[in-house]
């Protein structure tokens, strides 16, 4: 069975083609050029303009025709409404035109499953950090339960917005990571509430701090503080859930320093640490295709009229039928 998955919850548009055995035949991503934050309508236009060529390229890359595809999957949520709707329309159109079944799947769960597929992690605690999401989840009795998450903005959003305020460029993550090298520590607020996090106060404080301290120092301290908070929450969740593996997911997880910190924490606990390859860490189509395959194989079906998007869709609302 071959599934074509379309991702488009935010500024990235992705098309992935995956086989039932978990072989990724194609995984192409088109990034919307960003000068500032994501405007939902502009991102949706970007997706609408690029979906057709991206689909063609992905099929060519996979070396198959659309007639060899058995299933269409798309990111149904959570995400930006206008973006989700463009992707849903594309998926439904393909399904109708080529008479294929279509499945809308959860974006956050897709990150977890592609991580498990590509790293062979079996039952990990997942640390998922991206521009829009920050969650620590683990599988318990039929669901990916949320053990820790941000109470306000996402980690990636905190860093991106900081970079924007200081006019460092976009996306902020890699820029701040580079500038942080050679910085030294200045104090910033560290906010952990139980197993949850709060990044909005840190963002405000970092922007303010940049008026008196060097940019390198604030970038360094922002990363160190924000990441230490996330690693601490992961550590607590690890002790709580007694899982023996840690998996990272999401665009922010590409950050070398964050990976290093999580790896060190895992070593201290004798826990295995898994980092998926870069091209499946951030938002991508292959993860949607793979979750589509898993869902379909475990009996999930959706009628066309039931494929409406879900902008707010909690990870722990998804019934995990395939495990």
């Amino acid at each position: 069975m071959i599934c074509l998955g379309i991702e488009g919850t935010a500024e990235k548009l992705g098309v992935g083609i995956v086989t039932g055995d978990g072989e990724i035949l194609a995984n192409l991503t088109k990034h919307m050029p960003l000068k500032e934050g994501i405007h939902p309508r502009e991102a949706a236009q970007h997706h609408a303009q690029n979906i057709k060529p991206l689909l063609e390229k992905a099929l060519a890359k996979a070396g198959i025709g659309i007639d060899e595809v058995d299933l269409i999957a798309f990111s149904r949520g959570p995400g930006l409404g206008p973006c989700l709707r463009v992707v849903a329309v594309a998926a439904r159109t393909l399904a109708l035109k080529y008479r294929l079944p279509v499945l809308g799947v959860n974006h956050c769960v897709a990150h977890i499953e592609i991580g498990r597929l590509t790293t062979n992690a079996e039952d990990p605690l997942t640390v998922y950090a991206s521009g829009g999401n920050t969650q620590v989840t683990a599988y318990v009795e039929g669901r990916y339960r949320v053990f820790g998450e941000t109470l306000d903005i996402a980690l990636g959003n905190c860093i991106d917005q900081f970079a924007r305020e200081l006019k460092l460029g976009a996306p902020g993550g890699p820029i701040v990571e580079k500038l942080a090298r050679g910085g030294s520590y200045v104090e910033l607020p560290y906010v952990v509430k139980g197993m949850d996090l709060s990044y909005s106060g840190l963002l405000t404080a970092a922007v303010k701090k940049a008026k008196e301290a060097s940019v390198a120092d604030v970038c360094f301290s922002l990363q160190e503080t924000a990441f230490a908070m996330l690693v601490e929450v992961a550590e607590r969740a690890l002790a709580h859930t007694e899982k023996e593996e840690v998996l990272i997911a999401g665009g922010v997880a590409v950050n070398k320093r964050l990976q290093e910190m999580l790896r060190t924490m895992c070593e201290e606990h004798g826990t295995a640490f898994y980092a998926p390859p870069r091209d499946v860490l951030g938002d991508n189509g292959a993860m949607i295709a793979w979750l589509g395959l898993l869902s379909y194989a475990s009996g999930a079906r959706q009628r066309l009229e039931d494929t409406h998007v879900i902008q707010r869709w909690r990870t722990d609302e998804v019934e995990v039928l395939w495990r």
């Binding site: 959570p78 829009g132 999401n133 969650q135 318990v140 009795e141 669901r143 339960r145 949320v146 053990f147 998450e149 941000t150 109470l151 306000d152 903005i153 996402a154 520590y185 104090e187 560290y190 952990v192 509430k193 139980g194 197993m195 949850d196 160190e224 503080t225 230490a228 690693v231 601490e232 550590e235 607590r236 690890l238 002790a239 709580h240 290093e260 910190m261 999580l262 060190t264 924490m265 201290e268 707010r312 869709w313 909690r314 990870t315 722990d316 609302e317």
Partner: protein, 204 residues
Amino acid sequence: MEVIAKGAEANLYLEDNIVLKERIRKEYRIPEIDEALRSTRTKREAKLLSLARRAGVPTPVVLDVDNRSKCITMSYVDGEKVKYIVDTLSEEELNRLFSEIGSLAAKLHRANIIHGDLTTSNMLLSQGRVFFIDFGLGEVNPSLEAKGTDLLVFRKSVRSTHYRREKEILEAFFSGYRSEYPEGEEVIERMKRIEKRGRYVSAR
């Protein structure tokens, strides 16, 4: 000394009915952050354990604090974590227990004490009494926001850990909380507002 627990942030040792809690260094974070966190949390925990007891909430008795080694010495509470007994309780026992826990949380908040990590892992049942432990993330803060967040942490931990009995637990907890704390309703309202600010709310 016998190691009785290795938590995420501290090791616990037991000798002669006395517990030594040592906050250990974490290699993953830079020394500046590590030192500041361990130091503040050790001091805060010792202070809040005592304040909480004065507010009528059973806690271990603090015997000594050593901020150089980040150690607190306290009396041993021989009990079981509430987390592990939830599934063994009858409906009535569960009700009674969580109504009691709710009223203890209310006593903390009435005294402006924020626990910071209200979960069933941080509550011990010993001879019919519930003890609150692990105040390291706590603070003294009179604001509605802090109290509301405290309740939200509890509610979310129940959701992830005791999903099978979530409804019963929360009902008992909030009824105990309300009955002990006249302004409790306001805090509960704030909790709901804070939750709605989050990214992952299914309904706003």
